[in-house]
Structure formats: C-alpha cells, structure tokens
C-alpha cells in the first residue's frame, strides 16, 4: 500500500489504518460517530493526500483541458473553484473534478485517487502545459463550524475566502493552494501543500483546541448526509451524469468529450436516476441492496449508512424513473427493509456557506 506523508502521524494518533484504493489511510481514530459529531460541532482534520492534483498552465493547455470536462471554464473567474465531471465518449463518468482558476492562464485541478491513472493520462495527454503534481502534493482538510476561526490563526487570508473561492498563498514561506471547499456541508478549507511540509501543517492545525483528527469513516457519513455522490461507488464509467443526477454540472453551451452521448440520452429519456433514500428507523440501507416495489426490482443502492446527525439510515440508490421522486415507499435488501425516497440533502443545518 502507498503511504501519505502523514502515515506515521495517523499511527501515533491511534488511527485504524485500512487499504483505500491502494493507500494506507485511517478509517477512524476515536470512532466514526464521535468524529462525525465533532466535525458538525467543532473542526476535524482529514488527510486526503491520496487524491490527485494537476497544474494546467497556459491558454492552449486550458483550452485542451476544458474539452475534457463538463464545466464552462470561460465563466470561471480567477479565485473561484468549480465542480465538474470528466466523461468518456459514451458519456460515462470517469471522475468528478474540482477546477480552480488561480490566474487567467493557470488552473489547479483536484481529482480522486481511484481513477487517477486514467484521469492523469487524459489530462497530461491533452497538452504539454498540463502537469500531474499529485506525488509531490499533500492535501489536508479542515472542516467544521470553527474551521475558519482556527485556520485564520495560521493563514489570516482564510478569512477573505467565500464558499468555493480559492487562491495560491504561503505557509511559512512554502507556496500552497488554499480553497474554501469540502464535502461535509460544514465551513471548511482544503490545503494543497508540498509533501515535505505536510507534517508541520497537520501538527500545527491539530494543536488548536477544538481540532481533532478524523478518518475515512466520518468522511463517508458526513458526505452521505449531504447527498454527495462518491466516485467509484455511486458512479463510474457505466453511469452518466444524467443518471447520477449531476445534470446541474453539465455546461451544455460548451464542447466536451461525451456531450453527444449525453444529448442522445437526454432526448431519449427513460434512464435510471440516483435518488436519495432513507429508512424510518436506525437500520441502514447498504451498498448493493436491491430496491423493490412489491415483487418488482426497481433499483439498487450504491451508498448506505447510518446518518449520525439525522438519526436514521440514509443512502443513494439508482431507481427507475417513475420511482426517482421523493415520497415513494419501497423496500431494500434481503430482509425487505422499508425505505422512502427523499429530498437532498438529508442534513440541512450545515455551516458551509456562512
């Protein structure tokens, strides 16, 4: 397994380390529910150094990269970040991607660990100005209602960033990228730092009262409560953004790989849709549970967990179009767990936009 620069820190903090897409990462420290609640009430640190980062430099490189993703980069102002998707020519989702415009002629691109090889091949193959900096970059996230109050003590400019804004700045003389983004629904920042200062950044942020480490388990329950789909689990190359209910991230006015297939699918209609589901009690739907309406199979669960902040089982499921609306009562799994289709997000008190 590959190790992040923070591997020894995780062991020293008692983290339970597991294999995540070939990376040794902590699934939990104090416990998933405790870390989840801590993130919703104070602030947690997450090691996301396994994720991919790219620098896209120059007008021609930006143009080449723009043809690979569904976002309208002409509309992306300097200092802003945008969520988008990289598709194959059939419209299937290779990965979801956050693109940051650092300057008129420079983008910073953040991708997932699972499909990194395929993504890197496409981005770096698009233009010589596209560079994979994943190996030399560590990513440390601070997420929670007090995240900004903590971070400004180390980086005063964090106070100036609004939701989905980002900039290049410095940590003790080292150049870093700072974005006000995340996946928890809470006020949060992601710090992209040179691997050799990762331990210093981690320890300094952790030294503040109210900050605790959190693992993959809490990341998963937090993002599920927000209804954010997970690359490789809720979607992959066999699913399009229309099926994954990510239509809002398609800039139809731009040209990108996979657009033709998406247009055809949109015109044909009748496709499954990723839909929110919840149980009426503490039982959880689980990944790969079949969803049924009586004896008829109408879909499959892709994400399912207990939502600590909402107090019931929650998840995401691909459902036939007639069922992809809130308020349908169905069953899931071998024991016929009663579920109801719902609206997203499950958790609505998040502080991310404050």
């Amino acid at each position: 397994m590959q190790r992040t620069p923070l591997y020894d820190e995780h062991l020293a903090l008692g983290g339970k380390v597991v294999d995540f897409h070939g990376w040794a990462l902590p699934v939990q420290f104090a416990g998933i529910v405790q870390e989840h609640t801590h993130t919703r009430t104070q602030a947690s640190l997450f090691d996301c150094s396994h994720m991919g980062e790219f620098v896209v430099k120059g007008v021609d490189a930006i143009r080449a990269y723009a043809g690979l993703i569904t976002s309208d980069l002409d509309a992306l102002r300097v200092g802003r970040a945008r969520y988008g998707l990289m598709l194959n020519d059939k419209g299937g989702i290779i990965d979801d991607i956050v693109t940051i415009r650092l300057a008129d002629d420079e983008l910073y691109v953040v991708t997932n660990a699972g499909p990194l090889e395929a993504v890197s091949g496409r981005i770096c193959g698009a233009h010589a100005g596209c560079r994979d900096v994943s190996a030399s970059t560590a990513k440390i996230d601070i997420q929670g209602p007090i995240a900004r109050d903590i971070l400004v003590r180390e980086l005063p400019e964090a106070a100036e960033l609004k939701y989905f804004e980002a900039r290049r700045t410095h940590w003790q003389g080292s150049e870093i990228v700072l974005s006000r983004t995340g996946y928890t629904g809470e006020m949060g920042f992601e710090l992209f730092v040179p691997a050799d200062i990762a331990v210093d950044v981690w320890r300094r942020l952790l030294s503040h009262e109210g900050v605790a480490p959190a693992g993959l388990g809490a990341r998963d329950t937090l993002r599920t409560e927000m209804g954010y789909s997970l690359s490789g689990q809720d979607f992959d190359e066999s699913r399009t953004p229309l099926e994954a209910s990510l239509d809002t991230f398609i800039a139809w006015n731009t040209e990108f790989v996979g657009k033709q297939a998406l247009e055809a699918q949109k015109n044909a209609g009748g496709y499954d849709r990723l839909t929110a589901i919840r149980t009426g009690d503490r039982r959880s739907p689980r990944h790969e549970f079949e969803v049924q309406d009586g004896d008829a199979r109408v879909g499959v669960v892709t994400s399912g967990t207990f939502g600590p902040s909402v107090g019931c089982g929650i998840g995401l499921a691909y459902l036939k179009p007639a069922y992809a609306v809130a308020g349908r009562t169905l069953t899931a799994g071998p024991k016929g767990l009663s579920i109801e289709t719902a609206e997203l997000p499950f958790y609505r008190q998040g502080t991310c936009r404050k």
């Binding site: 998933i32 529910v33 388990g217 329950t221 503490r282 039982r283 959880s284 967990t305 207990f306």
Partner: protein, 127 residues
C-alpha cells in the same frame, strides 16, 4: 481479557449461565471490529432456535452482521435497552450490552465452545 465464566464461538458470541438460563452477547473483539453500533435487531421472546441459527442482528455505521445462537434453546428474554441505546454493545459488550437469554438449552453443546483462553488466542489470530 475475556470473562472466564463464559464460553465463546468462532463467530464471536459469548454465552454464560445466568441462574437457570443462559445469556448471550457479542465479544469485545466483535464490538471493536464493528465500530459504533447503531442498531440491534432482537429476536421474539418464545422463539426456539437451533445451535448456529441467525437469532439477532447488529448494525454499525460500517456494516451489518448476524448474531448466531451459540447453542440451541428457547429465547426467554431480550435486552430491550439496546433499542434506545445500541451503543451499550460497544460500551459494555460482556455485561450491559447482552442480546438475549436462552432457556431449555442443550448443555452438551456448550462443550464444543471455546473457553476464554482459547477464544483470546482465536481472536488475536483474527486480527
């Protein structure tokens, strides 16, 4: 580490005598492996179960698992405290976090189970 007065299964249940009945739960090792327990499904009182039958179920944030009857018998009590406080399974797996009690058990079946020392070795090899 594991109570001496109980016997243990390879599926990480414990069983110990409690007056005329036998009380059953999951071990500290199993609770630790599951992580935060969020739901426990208990059997109906009066249900007769065979040894090894899935008799209860336990869910954590991460996963769901069946809990098997260590020996055959009749369910004569369940721990209803787990309905509102499933975290008792993590906090006190060998005491307050018990699952169900059995009566009319086939005591000879207890002989095939592990004692505390054997279970400790088994659990540490399962890591």
């Amino acid at each position: 580490m594991y109570p001496e007065n109980a016997k243990y299964t390879r599926d990480h249940e414990w069983i110990r005598a409690d007056g005329d009945t036998y009380v059953v739960g999951i071990t500290a090792f199993a609770a630790e492996q599951l992580g935060d327990v969020t739901y426990v499904e208990l059997p109906s009182v009066g249900k007769t179960v065979e040894q090894g039958a899935a008799t209860a179920a336990v869910e954590s944030v991460k996963a769901a698992s069946d809990v098997y009857a260590p020996v055959g018998g009749r369910v004569c009590a369940v721990n209803t405290a787990l309905d509102s406080a499933p975290e008792l399974v993590n906090q006190s797996p060998h005491e307050e976090g018990w699952f169900f009690k059995l009566e009319n058990v086939d005591a000879a079946q207890l002989d095939g189970l592990m004692d505390a020392k054997a279970y400790e070795a088994f659990a540490s090899a399962s890591h």
